[in-house]
């Protein structure tokens, strides 16, 4: 037997140990090497802020960071705008619900690169959409490799919306119908019920879905690479080229650190903003 005091650390060891060894260590090493200390890559130079200076002073990288954030924010917001009403709609009964429930999850099993090619086939010049609309004389604006990254956002949304719907629908389904009925009898229209009952009560699910999607989108590589504009390019692509074409691992580590910090920052801001709402969920309510 393991003595009581040691039992808990012992039981936690496999899980926590795994995280420390395979997740924590690379993260710490990456942060170190972003400051010029360490073992990743070959050009460790001793303590320096040069990598960060380069990142901040090079316009392409600065724009790249903003572009990464832009892509993540917009695709997350668009996905949320689609999945929130969808999740609420899925609570009700309608003909073909089972079929729809099966179909809407399909993008989840389609690999990201394949999704990017779908979007390219549909939205690119000479793609299906422009061919269908051409006979009516409607010219489709540039949507692939365009400066607003419409194609990128479409593909990212196509992947993220079903995932968000799945999580939010679960949260919405756990709200008792009586609460909605109560709100209605008290004078709330269906739209008010959605805003004042469904959204706040599904907030834990919405939070989880939003953050997971945002953080995933922040590091998006394949979709912007295939569908994104030539300039700017998101930081993830700069990381790839700097690592494998330029061998500038210190700079790559700095970019990775900045992206991770951005994600953390968003997390903190989000949790701060929704704290008062979450406080209300501390306990079981009958």
């Amino acid at each position: 037997m393991i003595p009581g005091k040691l039992a808990l650390p012992f039981l936690l060891l496999p899980g926590v140990g795994f995280l420390v060894v395979f997740f924590g260590t690379p993260l710490v090493l990456a942060v170190f090497s972003s400051f010029g200390i360490g073992v990743i890559g070959t050009n460790a130079s001793g303590l320096t802020l040069a990598h960060y200076t380069e990142l901040v002073t090079t316009r392409a990288y600065r724009d790249g960071l903003w572009f990464s954030i832009y892509l993540a924010v917009v695709s997350t917001l668009v996905s949320l705008a689609i999945s929130m009403p969808l999740a609420v709609a899925l609570r009700g009964e309608f003909p073909g619900k089972r079929l729809f429930q099966m179909l809407y999850k399909m993008p989840l099993v389609v690999p990201t690169v394949v999704a990017a090619f779908f979007v390219m086939l549909f939205l690119d010049r000479g793609g299906m959409v422009s061919r269908v609309l051409l006979p009516w004389g409607i010219e489709v604006p540039r949507m692939v490799r365009d400066p607003w990254a419409i194609g990128v956002i479409t593909a990212m949304t196509w992947k993220a919306a079903p995932f968000m719907t799945l999580i939010i629908a679960g949260a919405v389904a756990s709200i008792p119908d009586d609460l909605r009925h109560a709100a209605r009898t008290l004078g709330a229209s269906p739209a008010t019920v959605f805003l004042r009952v469904d959204v706040p009560l599904a907030l834990p699910g919405i939070t989880a879905a939003t953050l997971l999607t945002f953080i995933g989108s922040l590091g998006a590589f394949a979709i912007p690479n295939l569908l994104g504009p030539i300039y700017p390019q998101p930081l993830a692509i700069h990381m790839y080229t700097n690592a494998f074409e330029q061998n500038k691992w210190g700079l790559v580590a700095a970019m990775g650190t900045i992206l991770s910090l951005t994600a953390c920052l968003v997390l903190i801001v989000y949790y701060r903003a929704t704290r008062s709402m979450r406080d209300a969920f501390g306990g079981e309510v009958r």
Partner: protein, 337 residues
């Protein structure tokens, strides 16, 4: 405040008629209880009146306004849910003030009416708490305050006390009765608890399998039910069949009973029967249960099982097997067969 007129109401779930041919008029300020076993359609009736379910047929008129195609938010009906359905993300004041907010009542006027509603249910000072910080009984009272705060035309209560323990239930029942009498609001109260219905209501609507079985004042329904279902559902009834024998009516154990010639069934409450130990009596005590003020005897007599409740000095438990005679009061209630 308003009266309620329901005519020909029907609602089916698939092939099952949850409510069928339901007709009811509730007077201004009247308190009506819908009583019946679970699944009898009483909650469905309430949901149809509140507008959170769509009727298949029929008309609902509240205070002269036809409710057809009127969504729940425009019916001005207060509904207290069995589950209370308090908004967990809002404070007690937020919950109680929700109906006012939806009606555009804001600021100090809203604050005052929320405070009044909370004072009404003895929860003054609880406004800033969250529902989860309250006990079941307090949550129930918040639900009531919420349903009353916006001054609805009628109040609907769906088994509001059934989630509470017995002692609390009784206390709240009396409070509720006093409060609703004082407010004089037209109310429909759904319950499966006959004692609750008898204690609270001006009139009881007994329902079974989606239909109204009988409507009456509590005392009349208890003492002189017309239907066997109501007789058996409201408290315990001894149903004693009468047989015609040589120009007279006889009880199962042969005693003569004077009644109109077409009488076939007696409905006698346990407390109306008189029992006496009698060595030559036709009955036999199966079991006696002493309850303090009362004793319940189960008696077998000529193939008939009767429940007899004796109170006061005659409430002596008898040994099983004691032979007894039973006296049925001459004015015992006759049930239409």
């Amino acid at each position: 405040m308003a009266n309620i007129n329901v005519t020909g109401l029907a609602k089916a779930f698939g092939s099952v008629m949850a409510v069928d041919d339901f007709n009811l008029s509730v007077e201004n300020g009247e308190f009506v209880a819908l009583l019946g076993p679970s699944g009898c359609g009483k909650t469905t009736v309430m949901r149809l009146i509140a507008g959170i379910a769509e009727p298949g047929r029929g008309q609902i008129v509240i205070g002269g306004r036809d409710m057809a195609n009127l969504p729940p938010e425009r019916r001005n009906v207060g509904l207290v849910f069995q589950s209370y359905a308090l908004f967990p993300h809002m404070t007690v004041a937020g919950n109680v003030g929700f109906g006012l907010k939806m009606r555009g009542v804001r600021g100090s006027e809203a604050d005052k009416r929320v405070a009044d509603a909370l004072a009404l249910v003895d929860l003054g000072g609880y406004g800033m708490r969250y529902p989860r910080q309250l006990s079941g009984g307090q949550q129930q009272r918040v639900a009531l305050a919420r349903a009353l705060a916006f001054q609805p035309d009628v109040l609907l209560l769906d088994e509001p006390l059934s989630n509470l323990d017995a002692k609390l239930r009784q206390g709240l029942r009396e409070e509720l009765r006093a409060l609703l009498r004082r407010l004089g609001i037209t109310s429909i109260y759904v319950t499966h608890d006959q004692e609750e219905a008898i204690a609270l209501a001006d009139r009881i609507v007994v329902m079974n399998a989606g239909r109204i079985v009988e409507i009456g004042a509590p005392e009349a329904l208890y003492r002189t039910p017309r239907t066997r279902f109501a007789a058996e559902f409201l408290g315990h009834s001894n149903l004693i069949a009468l047989t015609v024998d040589g120009g007279g009516l006889r009880l199962p154990w042969g005693a003569l009973f004077v009644a109109p010639a077409d009488a076939r069934m007696l409905c006698v409450r346990p407390e109306e029967l008189l029992l006496a130990a009698d060595p030559n009596g036709p009955g036999r005590v199966v079991e006696s249960t002493f309850l303090g003020s009362d004793t319940i005897h189960r008696v077998e007599i000529a193939g008939c099982h009767l429940k007899v409740r004796q109170s006061g000095r005659s409430a002596e438990p008898l040994a099983a097997g004691t032979t007894v005679s039973i006296r049925v009061p001459a004015d015992a209630h006759l049930l239409a067969a």
